[in-house]
């Protein structure tokens, strides 16, 4: 079946460090992926997306890498700040392109 999972439930880093959050997906037919940030009591916030015809995409302080060979997705956050503390979810679009399938999330904690 379709599922998206994350390698680590929690990640703790120091302010200023680079953070890497990983995600493994199981459906090789998925062709669209999104990273979301969710703060306590709020809805998921769109960070960055990538399509399967790309290996890498950069945004402001964030980079998403897609390795289709091993079905792996990662989110890199440069110069992590306390405001980056949140739960991060990767999501893949299902084959019909109608639903986003979410993993369980990684909680990022940034200490000053």
């Amino acid at each position: 079946g379709e599922s998206v999972g994350l390698h680590l439930p929690t990640l703790s880093v120091q302010e200023g460090d680079n953070s890497i959050i990983n995600c493994a997906y199981s459906n090789s037919a998925s062709d669209y992926f999104i990273w979301y940030k969710q703060e306590s009591g709020k809805g998921p916030q769109f960070i960055i997306d990538i399509r399967s015809n790309m290996d890498k995409r950069q945004g402001q302080r964030v980079t998403v890498l897609l390795n289709k060979t091993v079905k792996h997705l990662s989110l890199q956050i440069a110069a992590t700040q306390p405001g980056d503390s949140a739960v991060y979810f990767c999501a893949e679009a299902d084959q019909a392109g109608t639903a986003l399938i979410f993993g369980k999330g990684t909680t990022l904690s940034v200490s000053s």
């Binding site: 709020k42 769109f46 299902d94």
Partner: protein, 112 residues
């Protein structure tokens, strides 16, 4: 511009009752999706509507229904509420299918 707006923000209902949740998408967005998020989990897909037609349905019982109006706003209805329906209900809007999906703040439903 306003983002995705959901109402109400919080709701307490009794088992067996009915509930209606509302969502207004970002202006110009034609697709609305609904997700259920229980504590500690990633969002789970319930429905997607595009141009007022149902385009996808997740693995939820028939007690759950939805519709999209001509102005692209949407309602999610849940009948015969169960304690297990307690969750954060999220609405996401996107311009088209499989494009950037932006979430609202959610409606926190508590069933007692």
């Amino acid at each position: 511009d306003a983002g995705v707006t959901q109402s109400p923000t919080h709701l307490i209902k009794t088992r067996g009752q009915h509930v209606t949740l509302r969502c207004s998408p970002i202006s110009g967005h034609k697709s609305v999706s609904w997700y259920q998020q229980v504590l500690g989990q990633g969002p789970q897909f319930i429905f997607q509507y595009y141009e007022k037609e149902e385009r996808g349905r997740g693995n939820f019982p028939d007690r759950f229904s939805a519709r999209q109006f001509p102005n692209y706003s949407s309602e999610l209805n849940v009948n015969a509420l169960l304690l297990g329906d307690s969750a954060l209900y999220l609405c996401a809007s996107s311009l088209y299918l499989q494009t950037e999906a932006f979430f609202g703040q959610g409606t926190r439903l508590t069933v007692v």
